[in-house]
């Protein structure tokens, strides 16, 4: 038997690219071949067959794609799948209604609604029969359907915490007509107003209110995300089938259903980031064609004309990329930094592959420009982004260090801070989903290496994927748990590509049967459903129901909204108000009040509410922070906070509240003669502190 080429890669293929990669590959292949030749024959045959399949260049043998000359686009299963998705949306609406009524089957109906969307679309996308147009239509429909589920959960008002923060910035722009107005709820958002600018444009031109405008803005962002992701993957893999599979896998990332569908700056920045990668990759492709013609252009007229056209295309692609890049930079900081990291890594890989001299590499140039723009944005006067980001990472790293060194214990998984355990089926689903993703990555990376190792962006994706297992360790910390979830939205871009390559290579279309289709669809649906449950958190986070304390969407109810609206009507806007987390966002938006908090004012107001007496320390906080009104939510004395804190993560006893707040601590203000109790709606009471602090000025 031939002892070489067990890996399926012979030296001639491996050395076709100039520079360092060829030499590395030669050595690498020889080592692998020698290792494999030492294995017993059955094992060698299995591994050989696996490697042969993983490196098969003809795995995608689809003939059912739109040809350039086709003028008639065939819909295939698309209308039927659109109906399936619509039924999924209806079923999710039904699950929300059941949840509002307090019945117990709501989670089951919700899970079924997700399966109605994922399973049929995945089956069709895995099939080789779907046309390119059909695949694009299917992924767009699935993406929009998942977005509509989020709207159906709260169709009349904002309900997620971050939405209120950006609503305030949007309203400030609407009222003042100018940017960079201070926002105490999220000071950094005023310096990254891209999404709010778009909202302002549509709102002023259409006359719609901010909520309805926001729905459309994020809906458009969702379409752009899905389309750009599909086109990027298609460009990388040269296969619409792989592109469709990668896109549907991406939709199973923990943040796709809720977090990246909410009115927040990441929801717009992420689609623009994917577009920047697409445009840069198109530029690379055009640049390769340009280089190919350059040598013959002086002597062949056709080549000269084509060369001129390509130069023009490259120039315009650069312009488009730059414009989108600027939009990303001024829309969301973290997404921008992720993009910078990807571009820098991509440039590094590109240089390592020696595919082009450094000074002629477009990726290097765009990476430098991106980095420079990020620095310019960060250096805007008053921009707190450096403190904001660094404090977040510092907290996560410090906590991880404490856990690893035994100073503090690891965060218990699958348990809320009120002690409520996560249902068994959610735990199994979540663990299974992550295990499937993590176990598929090595095979996917191997397939990527065998098929696409000459492609710089593919290698970059492969390297990024390695970060995902590493960040999982932060799950055992309180602050870092959010870091892991946030990183999933970014890391799933390369993860979905790698897994799609694995599926396409290991289950080539010529041997694909219905059994394979259903099995793969089932596995991908488990990944999607588990990822969604992981991102949404306990089902209380998404499913509506009775009021819960410090539970974000479950804490937004009419009494709080009406109290906040009352403050604006009768107290006027911009009063300095101290209150708990939920009423902060309500008073800051519906009430248009100036919220006193630890982010903007660097003061911990929780002692005012937690202490049994309004002593000198508490009065000192009120006076120093110039608090004019205290908004007391009596429900803090009835339940422990679901998130682990009532005010913010830095409050006294955060994540360790063993009982609700003592009711006496919240009613103590009634006995202080200098405090006027001006409002009482039962659960919410408002005190005027003017008598205590001698009429502090309005902010």
């Amino acid at each position: 038997m031939e002892r070489l080429a067990v890996t399926g890669i012979d030296e001639r293929r491996g050395s076709s690219s100039p520079g360092g990669l060829g030499a590395v590959q030669k050595t690498h292949n020889n080592v692998i071949d020698r290792l494999l030749n030492k294995l017993p024959s059955p094992w060698r045959r299995i591994i050989f067959a696996f490697l042969k399949r993983a490196g098969d260049p003809d795995a995608e043998n689809t003939s059912a794609n739109d040809q350039p000359g086709d003028l008639v686009l065939v819909c295939g299963w698309f209308p039927g799948l659109a109906l399936s998705c619509a039924l999924g949306i209806f079923l999710s609406g039904y699950s929300f209604a059941v949840s509002r009524d307090g019945q117990s089957q709501a989670e089951l109906f919700f899970a079924l609604s997700m399966l109605l969307i994922f399973v049929p679309t995945t089956i069709r996308l895995l099939s080789s029969a779907a046309t390119r147009f059909e695949r694009i239509a299917i992924v767009c429909t699935a993406g929009i359907s998942l977005y509509l589920i989020k709207i159906v959960a709260s169709p009349t008002n904002f309900s997620l915490y971050d939405e209120f923060l950006h609503w305030r910035t949007a309203d400030d722009i609407m009222q003042t007509g100018h940017l960079f107005t201070s926002n105490a709820l999220l000071p950094v958002s005023a310096y990254y107003p891209g999404m709010e600018i778009v909202t302002n444009a549509l709102s002023t031109l259409s006359g719609m209110n901010t909520f309805h405008t926001a729905l459309i803005v994020i809906g458009v962002a969702r379409v752009l995300m899905v389309l750009s992701l599909f086109l990027l993957n298609e460009r990388l893999t040269k296969s619409p089938r792989m592109a469709g599979i990668a896109t549907i896998i991406y939709m199973g990332n923990p943040h796709f259903l809720l977090f990246d569908a909410q009115y927040a700056y990441e929801s717009l920045a992420l689609p623009l980031t994917v577009f920047v990668l697409l445009a840069t990759e198109l530029h690379q492709f055009t640049s390769d064609r340009f280089d190919g013609l350059k040598s013959i252009a002086p002597i062949v007229l056709f080549a000269k004309v084509r060369n001129t056209l390509l130069r023009g295309d490259m120039r315009w692609l650069s312009t488009a990329t730059l414009m989108a890049l600027i939009a990303v930079v001024f829309t969301h900081h973290m997404t921008d930094y992720f993009l910078d990291g990807v571009l820098v890594l991509w440039a590094g890989v590109y240089v390592f592959l020696h595919l082009r001299p450094l000074y002629r590499s477009y990726v290097v140039r765009i990476a430098l420009i991106a980095f420079a723009l990020s620095v310019i944005a960060a250096l805007q006067i008053g921009n707190p982004v450096v403190d904001y980001i660094s404090s977040f990472f510092q907290m996560a790293v410090t906590e991880l260090n404490h856990v690893l060194t035994g100073v503090s214990s690891a965060r218990p998984l699958f348990q809320s801070y009120t002690g409520t355990p996560t249902p068994i089926w959610e735990r199994i689903l979540t663990i299974l989903s992550q295990l499937l993703v993590l176990s598929g990555l090595p095979f996917g990376l191997l397939c990527l290496w065998l098929r696409f190792r000459k492609h710089a962006l593919m290698i970059t994706f492969g390297l990024l994927v390695l970060c995902y297992p590493l960040v999982q360790v932060f799950r055992f910390t309180t602050a870092g748990g959010e870091l892991v979830d946030r990183s999933a939205a970014f890391l799933y871009i390369p993860i979905s590509t790698v897994l799609a390559i694995m599926i396409a290579q290991l289950w080539p279309t010529r041997w694909l049967t219905w059994k394979h289709l259903f099995s793969l669809a089932f596995v991908l649906s488990v990944i999607a459903l588990g990822g969604t449950v992981l991102g949404v958190g306990p089902s209380i986070s998404l499913l509506p129901g009775p009021y819960m304390v410090a539970a974000d969407p479950r804490s937004i109810n009419m009494e709080g909204i009406q109290a906040a609206t009352w403050t604006r009507t009768y107290l006027g806007p911009d009063n300095r108000v101290a209150t708990d987390r939920t009423n902060q966002i309500l008073d800051g938006t519906y009430g248009q009040q100036r919220i006193v908090d630890s982010i903007e004012d660097r003061v911990d107001i929780s002692p005012i509410f937690f202490s049994p007496q309004l002593g000198p320390d508490e009065v000192g906080i009120i006076q120093a922070a110039k608090i004019h009104f205290l908004v007391v939510d009596m429900r803090m004395s009835k339940q422990r906070p679901v998130l682990g804190f009532y005010f913010d993560e830095t409050e006294v006893g955060a994540f360790q509240h063993s009982s609700p707040v003592d009711p006496h601590n919240l009613t103590k203000f009634n006995t202080v003669s200098q405090l006027n109790k001006v409002f009482d709606s039962g659960n919410i009471v408002i005190y005027d502190t003017e008598g205590l602090v001698n009429a502090p000025e309005k902010s």
Binding site: A86, F90, T204, D313, I326, M558, Y570, D688
Partner: protein, 258 residues
């Protein structure tokens, strides 16, 4: 030629209607919304693509992605520009800017098409069978029904009602204040209340039966004059008539002569 530049004609029509919208208020609101959406999200990018690439290198799917992204980029970048103007970001500035931008690039695109005399791409047709139309119609109906069902579920959601009570003083002169009293009912049904206002512990005024329907408001003003001490402790206690022993809501203020 008519068919060749139909897209540009439609764009110009949308721009004109959009500009008319700020001058002529009786243009139907829904029409303004329908036109505003492509003007913000699609047209600027589409025109840029037409000028830059002239349908040479981008497939229709790429053109859609480029149109959306470039439109967002144009709006975001121009927002920073408009911020520098005294007028800032408002209806007039957006309408004028996007109107001028779209017009200029529309004309540029028309000129470039005319000059290039480029072979126009033939219109793509989507093949739909009868059952496809049925599926799509049912899908739209299902989505519309979902939203209707959800809205109905929210409006009929059971929840505890509540009543707001407030007291806000305003000083009219050195010795006198006006107390602004108010109640708003968010109860499930009409409730009967009794409201007692006390000053320095003694009843000043009583409303023995105030009937409030859901979502209705009751307001009153009371003048108060400071005593010799210069201090007034005023409070209002609200009772439900079907539970007259229990204070339902209470507010109080301390007024000090300055």
């Amino acid at each position: 030629m008519r068919q060749k530049n139909l897209d540009l004609l439609l764009i110009m029509a949308a721009v004109i209607v959009s500009m008319l919208g700020i001058m002529v208020p009786f243009i139907l609101h829904f029409m303004v919304i329908i036109i505003a959406i492509p003007i913000v999200f699609f047209i600027p990018g589409y025109l840029l693509c037409e000028v830059m690439f002239q349908r040479r290198m981008l497939s229709i799917y790429h053109r859609v992605a480029f149109s959306l992204s470039l439109s967002l980029a144009v709006v975001i970048v121009s927002g920073f520009g408009l911020n520098l103007l005294p007028i800032g970001l408002n209806t007039v500035s957006w309408t004028v800017f996007l109107g001028v931008f779209n017009t200029v690039f529309c004309c540029a695109s028309f000129f470039l098409r005319h000059r290039a005399q480029a072979q126009r791409a033939q219109a793509l047709k989507i093949h739909l069978a009868i059952h496809d139309y049925v599926f799509l119609a049912l899908a739209i109906l299902a989505i519309v029904f979902s939203f209707g069902y959800t809205a109905n579920s929210i409006s009929h959601q059971p929840g505890a009602g509540y009543t707001q009570l407030w007291m806000l003083p305003s000083q009219t002169n050195r010795n006198t204040w006006t107390i602004n009293l108010g109640m708003q009912s968010e109860e499930a049904a009409t409730r009967q209340y009794k409201l007692v206002v006390l000053v320095n512990g003694k009843p000043l005024k009583t409303w023995s039966s105030v009937s409030l329907a859901p979502n209705s408001t009751w307001k009153q003003q009371l003048p108060l004059t400071a005593a010799k001490t210069g201090k007034i402790d005023a409070s209002a206690q609200l009772y439900l008539l079907d539970a007259p022993q229990v204070i339902y809501r209470e507010v109080h203020v301390t007024l000090q002569k300055k």
